[in-house]
């Protein structure tokens, strides 16, 4: 697996992790989770 693919899979797993986290943490954490998700998601789509 190339380094690029590894990076991509890692960002995907982080994204899923943030999604799972959103179910369990309180609503106030959305303020942290939304920017975090954008930060993880944006570089991934930027490569497209």
């Amino acid at each position: 697996m190339s380094a690029e693919a590894k990076k991509s899979y890692a960002s995907t797993l982080i994204l899923i992790g943030l999604g799972v986290l959103a179910f369990y943490v309180g609503a106030q954490w959305l303020m942290v989770l939304i920017p975090a998700a954008v930060l993880v998601w944006y570089p991934a789509w930027e490569r497209l």
């Binding site: 991509s8 995907t12 994204l15 943030l18 999604g19 609503a27």
Partner: protein
Amino acid sequence: MSTASLALSNTAIQRTPAHTLAIYAKEAKYEFLKNLRLRVYTASVISFPLMFYVLFGLVLNAKERIAGMGVPTYLIATYGTFGVMGASLFGTASGLASDRGLGWLQVKRASPMPPFAYFAAKVILSLIFSTIVVSLLLVLGIGFGGVRMPVLDMARLMGTLMAGSLPFSAMGLAIGYFAGPNSAPAAINLIYLPLSFCSGLWVPYIFLPKLVQKIALALPPYHLSQLALGVVGAGRHEPAITHWEVLFGFTLICLGVARIGFQRDQGKLYG
């Protein structure tokens, strides 16, 4: 023997924001026209929620009340959710699965179009069809069901359901990347119909069996329907942020799964 050589450059395409926007708009326009001409898509996505609403909201239970609310008003929120979900799932999953099967994604990949425009077009298509479904439900409710709602509430209902179409578009992308072109519609129905029932979109939540009520709490359509019901003044009056939180988490998980599917396809095609 003469030979020809071809120099390939790896220069990034430079576009102005206006040009990029024009590409996105054009892709969305043709995606919309393509689906508009697909009678099976328009008929199923638009007519099913309307048909159920007319039958259960206007013909059979027009004078009944649920949770202190007239049935025609209550069902606009639940069938609105049902319609939005259908438009989003079928618009993204079915189209994506068939495009993958036909190799259309490779053609797109070879074109200078930004690849994200393809996905954005699918989401915009879902938003447009969702708007059509909710608008028609409102027209039917106001015209024939005696629904009276302030314009601001109608706009809020529309806005809530539009925003709520995003998680289901993400879910559609995830399904579209893992289902085959022929099995996609069946796979969508297999998920869409039980989800709708268990979330209280067909039968109001309070009339669902106790076990199903417990299951509903974990289902995204339940949370969107509660947000919509909150706008019309029904629902269970739980904090709206809790529902948004679940929908947000669900969106991220679906986007992650879709991305795994995308990477899997990329790996198969380009190694």
